[in-house]
């Protein structure tokens, strides 16, 4: 089935759709968006819903927060990435690669936009499972080629507007049966974002090491 889907992805129209999305990402200098994240687990009677927001200024300023008021915040300044828990007043520096991997799973893959340099780079990093489009909406279903991600991932879905390439939704299905869906709203591209957004006050916070 994967082979058929991959073969399908190589059809000119579908390739073009992915290329459009990738090219649009190159135009992004800054981004601000609200999102609603839904976590569905087989072990829970009902899904967990959280509001969140993300801000991004290229090349290396990023803030992603979950909860309103925020319960989990990730802030990036250059190579430094911190995981902050405001309720617990704790802060933990993250390894940038690990942060990218974990946040990618949460729908914040754009921490390092663009996700891929071009179509060839994209194909070298992801298996394309399916590409579906209707009207101005396109949904790409992919699976990372990296083996450690495939261990617990069944698939990732990206939904975007074909006309401007804006991301509308991001979802992932885990092998454990869990699923995470992110619906983006109020997406603002290339608007001015004050630097203070990326300076989360952590004075008096307990700093945990990576092991904790």
């Amino acid at each position: 089935m994967l082979a058929v889907a991959s073969a399908k992805a190589e059809q000119p129209n579908e390739k073009k759709l992915i290329q459009i999305w990738l090219e649009r990402q190159h135009d992004i200098k800054s981004l601000s968006a609200d999102f609603v994240q839904t976590r569905s687990l087989r072990s829970l009677q009902s899904p967990i819903r959280n509001k969140g927001h993300l801000w991004l200024v290229k090349p290396d300023l990023f803030r992603w927060q979950l909860g309103d008021p925020p319960k989990t915040v990730v802030v990036r300044h250059g190579r430094n990435v911190d995981l902050i828990s405001p309720f617990k007043r704790q802060m933990r520096p993250l390894d940038p690669q690990e942060a990218q991997r974990q946040l990618g799973m949460q729908g914040a893959a754009m921490m390092d936009t663009p996700v891929a340099k071009n179509y060839a780079d994209f194909i070298s990093r992801f298996d394309v499972l399916s590409v579906q489009s209707s009207d101005d909406r396109c949904e790409i279903s992919i699976l990372p080629r990296q083996d450690d991600a495939r261990k617990f991932l069944e698939g990732i879905s990206l939904t975007f507007k074909v006309s401007d390439g804006h991301l509308l939704a991001f979802g992932m299905r885990l092998r454990s049966g869990a699923a995470i869906e992110n619906e983006f709203t109020q997406v603002e591209i290339n608007q001015s974002i004050p630097r203070s957004v990326f300076e989360f006050p952590v004075s008096g916070y307990e700093v945990l090491n990576a092991k904790n």
């Binding site: 994967l2 976590r39 687990l41 087989r42 072990s43 829970l44 009677q45 009902s46 967990i48 959280n50 979950l66 909860g67 319960k71 989990t72 990730v74 995981l83 828990s85 974990q102 946040l103 799973m105 949460q106 298996d127 080629r145 990296q146 083996d147 450690d148 495939r150 261990k151 617990f152 991932l153 885990l174 454990s176 869990a178 995470i180 092991k211 904790n212």
Partner: protein
């Protein structure tokens, strides 16, 4: 009657050969060659004894694309699983990945090992007044976490039983997969044999069957399969040892045959001499099979060395037989004294290798010593009877006499030898003495698919070859735990002192009898709390499915019930996790950890961790320790051997000048050898240092024989060369052929031993024949003047 007796002897010989040859076995463990008193040797030996997994073959699959590697791995796993007569199990992913329930025994065991305080905390978390709050906290974590693993785990663990699994040091450092590289293009299968391998031949035939099964899967081109792990190493190295031993023996006999033909041009004696050498080879091999438990890689070289030395007695008997006109018994008596003396001293020199504490060297000494005595007996007892019947009117053997006494040849020989000395001196001045190389490289085979696959596995899966294993042993689990605690404190200090960058001790996983004894009675009744806890989870937003892990863990506590600590988990998942952490074998318990020393701090770390039952094991550490200890060890043996030789010579010569001349000549031989080695880029290693001992034992015969002859004939160099020149050339050529034939051995160390000995013998023969008589004449003239 004589015929019956002869037939009886032949039958006895055949029975002996069969019994001996069928018992030959190889020990592929190079550590058996090294002194066991060295801590690095002991550490590596313990690692192999406890954690090398003799029945586990590792199959590596490499492809251009991850998908190709994945499907090739699945095909191979399927094909191997269908061969249940030869394969017990094939593991291609962690056992709990397809069946996570299997992990519950391990989780239960981790909880059982916790301190009573941690156990109290768990009991408090599930207590009637607290359980609902705990479930709510878990729900909160599930909504906050950014880790997909935590999301997957906590959903099935509302009461935090997996806390020791996620917070323990051990698991925080084991993110590396044992099954696949990050890009998925390199995959690994672990294949367990259906039966134990009794001999190396079993091993070789099993590997052959595995290869045949894999080849039937018709993998696409570009997919490469490698075999490694203990069975592959044994098959690979034993196979090459067997080939090296047989091929070097054959090549030596061929070269000896050519040398004999060039000297004598006679078919009959050549045929008989070759037959004798084959008999000596087989009888010595049968001796080795019967009386030595296992041949090591250095012992394998014995066959060709022994043939090269034994043939000397054949030459001597044959040479005497040409001018002998008496009975067989008289010929035997005529040769007895000389053969007894030379074979006795050669065998004594080789047996003297037992003075060394190096087991490999002792084995080589014993094998060659036995072989030389067998050779002398066969040549004197059997070949002399045959040789006595050869025609006597033969002058062809005397061409050598004329050749070796011709002034042109002697002049050319002297100039050639002096030129060689000059070149060697330039080599020594220009490049210095050969450097020492005691790295693991010299202990490895030149070509080995198993080593290549292991190198690839280390590079692709761990990307880190510079680690050191920490082995902690003891008679029981509790002693090992105490030693692990001791080592852990030292490792903590080592990290503070900047000696290690990181370490992973087995301590977090090691059972504590005290903790288990305290925890088990409190945990085994938890199974009765399950109905209450089920109500709690259902009332707090979880489904019944969420309690699966908790239920299994509590049932496991109940199953352990009245068992007496220490308790170890036993299911396949637990076994898989612990197989490279803990071992109970041969009435000994061992724990395995891993360290990453700061470069250049290996020795300081080894010194810090010198405690009872605590060993560091790595090939790098072994190389350092060998470099420190082996030259000392060899020096002691050399001093012992030289003293023995000098004592014998002092009695034989009763002349300080001749003894001094012998010492000077021997020193010149060794210096020339060192110079030539430097020029050729050769290094001293653990194996070829033995060449010095062998040269002292065999090569010095040439100068001793010449000195004796010169003393006998009043210092007539021409007459001495006429008598001994041809014999020394024949002996040196044969012995060099013997040593030279192992130059192409698959083991680098053994090959270097062959090269160094062959080179040394040629230099020894040249200096003895051409320079020794001249030097003695010059000394005599000086003293007369």
């Amino acid at each position: 009657m004589r015929k019956i007796r002869a037939a009886g002897l032949v039958v006895l010989l055949l029975v002996f050969l069969y019994a001996g040859l069928s018992h030959i076995s190889f020990d592929v463990d190079v550590l058996r060659l090294l002194p066991t008193n060295l801590r690095a040797v002991r550490g590596l030996s313990l690692f192999l004894q406890h954690f090398s997994l003799p029945n586990e073959l590792i199959v590596t699959v490499t492809a251009e694309r991850a998908k190709e590697a994945e499907s090739a791995t699945e095909s191979i796993a399927g094909a191997l699983r269908s061969r249940n007569t030869i394969v017990r199990q094939v593991v291609s992913e962690p056992p709990w990945e397809k069946n996570p329930v299997q992990l519950s025994e391990f989780v239960a065991w981790l909880v059982l090992n916790e301190t009573p305080a941690e156990s109290d905390a768990l009991l408090a978390r599930i207590a009637p007044g607290q359980a609902a709050r705990t479930a709510q906290e878990t729900l909160e974590k599930l909504s906050e976490t950014i880790s997909p693993q935590e999301l997957a785990l906590l959903g099935y663990d509302p009461f935090g039983l997996t806390l020791p699994l996620t917070t323990g040091d051990f698991f925080s450092q084991t993110a590396q997969s044992e099954f696949s590289s990050a890009d998925g293009k390199f995959r690994v299968l672990y294949v367990e044999g259906a039966r134990r391998f009794r001999t190396y031949r079993d091993n070789i035939s099993w590997i052959r069957e595995i290869r045949a099964t894999i080849s039937q899967t018709h993998l696409p081109t570009g997919v490469k399969v490698g075999l490694t792990g203990e069975p592959a190493f044994v098959a690979d190295i034993s196979g090459s040892m067997q080939f090296d031993m047989c091929s070097s023996g054959f090549v030596t006999m061929l070269l000896i045959g050519i040398i004999f033909w060039l000297c004598y041009h006679r078919h009959g004696p050549l045929r008989d001499l070759m037959t004798m050498l084959i008999v000596i080879f087989l009888v010595s091999l049968a001796f080795a099979g019967l009386f030595l438990p296992q041949l090591t890689v250095i012992g394998v070289g014995f066959a060709s060395i022994m043939i090269g030395l034994s043939v000397d007695y054949g030459y001597f008997v044959y040479q005497r037989s040409l001018s002998h006109h008496g009975s067989v018994r008289v010929l035997q008596k005529d040769c007895l004294q000389n053969i007894l003396w030379t074979s006795g001293t050669t065998a004594a020199a080789f047996f003297a290798l037992n003075l060394s504490s190096l087991p490999g060297l002792s084995q080589l000494g014993n094998l060659v010593g036995i072989g030389v005595l067998v050779g002398a007996t066969v040549m004197l007892g059997v070949f002399a009877q045959i040789a006595a019947r050869y025609p006597k009117t033969d002058d062809r053997g005397n061409w050598g006499k004329r050749f070796f006494t011709s002034p042109g040849f002697v002049r050319a020989g002297i100039w050639f030898t002096l030129a060689l000395l000059g070149i060697a001196t330039v080599g020594l001045i220009w490049k210095g003495p050969p450097r020492a190389d005691f790295s693991a490289r010299t202990l490895r085979p030149r070509k080995s698919g198993a080593y290549d696959a292991m190198d690839q596995l280390t590079a692709r899966l761990t990307n880190d070859a510079d680690f050191v294993s920490l082995i902690v042993t003891g008679p029981d689990d509790e002693t090992v735990r105490q030693r692990l605690e001791w080592a852990d404190a030292r490792l903590h200090a080592a990290k503070a002192q900047g000696l290690v960058t990181s370490y992973r001790s087995a301590l977090p996983l090691w059972p504590s009898v005290k903790n288990q004894t305290c925890n088990l009675p409190r945990l085994r009744g938890l199974v009765n709390e399950l109905p209450r806890l089920q109500q709690v989870v259902l009332a707090n937003g979880f489904t019944e499915e969420s309690l699966g892990l908790t239920r299994n863990v509590f049932q496991q506590f109940a199953q352990w019930g009245e068992r007496k600590p220490p308790i170890w988990p036993e299911n396949p998942a637990s076994h898989w996790i612990l197989r490279r952490v803990a071992s109970h074998r041969d009435a000994q318990v061992a724990a395995l950890g891993l360290l990453h020393p700061v470069p250049g701090k290996h020795q300081a770390l080894a010194n810090l961790l010198q405690g009872e039952g605590v060993y560091l094991a790595s090939w790098g550490l072994l190389g350092d320790e060998l470099l420190r200890e082996i030259p000392k060890e060899f020096l002691q043996t050399i001093v012992g051997l030289v003293s023995l030789v000098l004592l014998i010579l002092a009695i034989a010569f009763r002349s300080l000048r001749d003894v001094g001349l012998f010492v000077g000549i021997t020193a010149l031989v060794l210096a020339t050898l060192a110079g030539v080695m430097s020029l050729l880029g050769m290094t001293w290693n653990f194996f070829n240092l033995a060449a010095i001992l062998l040269l002292l034992g065999t090569g010095t015969d040439y100068s001793i024989l010449l000195l004796l002859e010169l003393r006998r004939n009043g210092g007539d160099a021409v007459a001495a060369r006429a008598t001994l020149g041809q014999v020394i050339v024949l002996c040196a050529a044969s012995a060099s052929a013997g040593f030279g034939s192992i130059t192409w051995a698959n083991n680098r160390g053994l090959a270097s031993l062959g090269q160094t000995c062959a080179l040394g013998l040629v230099i020894d023969a040249l200096i003895s024949i051409f320079l020794l008589p001249e030097a003695r004449r010059w000394l005599m003239n000086r003293s007369h003047a």
